[in-house]
Amino acid sequence: MNGYCGKMLFVDLSTGRHEVQPLEEDLAGQFIGGYGIGAKVLFERMEPGSDPLGPDNIMGFTTGPLTGTGALLSGRYTLVCKSPVTGGWNDANSGGYFGPELKKAGFDAIFIQGASKTPVYLWIHDGEVEIKDAGAIWGKDVIETEEILKSALGEKSLRAAVIGPAGEKLSLMAAVINDGHRAAGRGGCGAVMGAKKLKAVVVRGTQEVPVADPEKLKAVNQEIVDTIKNGPAARIAAAFSTFGTTMMTGASALSGDSPVKNWGGVGIVDYSEEAATRFEGAAMDPRYRVKKYSCAHCPIGCGAIYEVNDGKWPVGETGRPEYETSAAFGCLMLNEDLEALIKCNHICNIYGLDTISAGATVAWAIECYENGILSKADTGGIDLGWGNAEAIVQTTQEMADQSTEFGKTLALGSAGAAQKLGKGAEYLITVKGIELPMHDPRLGPGFTRTYAMDPTPARHVKGGLGLQHMQISDPSKYDPEGKGQADLEATAAQEIINTAGLCLFKNFTGVQNIARKLIPPVTGWHFDAEEERNAGLRIFHMRHAFNLREGMKPGDFPLPKRSVGEPPQTEGPLKGVTVDYKGFNQNFFKAIGWEETTGRPSRSSLEQLGGMEYVIDTLGL
């Protein structure tokens, strides 16, 4: 089967056994890869009600048909599991080199169930599978772990998806990190690995992934490169290649795109323009950048490696903070200290924390402290005021290593911490327990539907109208009427980008319909707009069905009032904005055919999509 290894690996850590099963072409065609196949497998194999931190949770490391084929912009892999934060469906993806190496090692996906009694790691090399003792790496940070693994296995070219101490200690913000600084961050997947006592999945391989039409793939790749260099977005693509996601940090902070002061502030009022500019690549790179960083098969290379060897927080070489991190550890907490940002980013990377939830949790704690909800007795003496860089770094460190009671509390995430403390819930900016990302729906109103109604709530990388809306100032974007169908189409298209292993940042390239260009030469399939749409909706419904089976309803995902402008801001670019989030939901539900109160899809719509028989039966549609 072209584009795939044709094999899925199933590992049971409780028994120590593993099994290889074929990936059938029907399944691949219907669910493409990544979290599409992942959702299908987990829905069929996991019992509803399973404890996310128990042995029955199944964790998948999945790739798409483009992964490892040389198709450009396709270096991502996706983790799937049940989230210990939301109690529902979870997926999170990451770039770097792990995904392509997994396929070279012989598998399209690895699914892991059970839990080991002692720390272990998986070593997968050219189709061989070993469960190995992780005693020597348990407790080590992400970078140390990779170094020890390379030395112990005698393999410098291995790739590893690793948890740090945060995952081992079951922090609900724990990420899975690969290549030292690339994170599958959201939803607590690091804690799921930690609960299984699985320190790392390590892969190395030399196998080729078969491609249906290599010459055509080469031609499409060349077209992509030509468009990036000479197309309508060439200047933006060039700037993005240099500065990455920090290209627009300043504008985001000043415009209302970035939330400010735990979503209660206004960028141009509460945050200095100087600081907003200081957190941009253009300002940071001359001081700290030592080299560029590219994920596999990426002609853009939006990453960079920084080096900080002096000052208050020397960290040595470290990944350049991405936009989400810069906003979360910047304007969200009114931090104007650049090296504090770099330090916090580094802490999150090496301990394995999601920088969005980590930054948002610190910002929540600051607001609680400023308003007398938390005292120095709670913080262990930390004077946790807005923008206090030393306090922010110390808090982040304690949250990562859980060396103090305060750190242990914050490691639960903001919602978990508020619940444990029995206070501070009024300042939470979460949906179903997970912190919102750094794009404000008051500027991009379409995000309201995505943040609330994507099966993984609070994600900016999932489909919908938010990404379009935040880029335009036309006030008609705030009217939800007639936008349900466009929301649906954008959602379906993004499902294919994510499941094929493509990168969201194709948005910066000016390349249109990239999945429809790349999937046919790799797989040999006919893959037109209708097939793309149907596969996207099938995948979206499969993830949604997982949550429905857990008993979740649309009403379980209320948005924080600040994020929708209730009440509206009284100054700044978003003055007076209240988002009709109910309208965006209603229009989407109407377009997709879901019942408004229960979120249940119609039987006929799923029959029309095909491949959903088990869902129809299980949900009794």
Partner: protein
């Protein structure tokens, strides 16, 4: 009248300057000013639908008049990270 336009982020990077001073006729609108800037800076992607025009801290409408002393900031946005 003489006005100052501030560039943020991508626009600042592409223009190579933080701000530019322009001499414009009285009664110029936000849209007209954008057209003038597009002529002056052909390398800036100043598409009307994707350019945020912040006038005295508020998002301006295209037909809004510019007055001497107004604070003007132009930028584009995109998501990620």
């Amino acid at each position: 009248m003489r006005i100052t336009v501030n560039f943020s982020s991508l626009f600042r990077t592409l223009a190579g300057v933080d701000q530019v001073e322009l001499e414009v006729a009285g009664g110029v609108t936000a849209d007209r000013l954008l057209s003038l800037l597009a002529q002056k800076y052909p390398d800036l992607p100043l598409e009307r639908d994707k350019t945020f025009f912040l006038l005295n801290g508020q998002i301006a409408k295209g037909d809004q008049m510019i007055r001497e002393g107004d604070q003007i900031r132009l930028f584009q946005l995109s998501a990620g990270g």
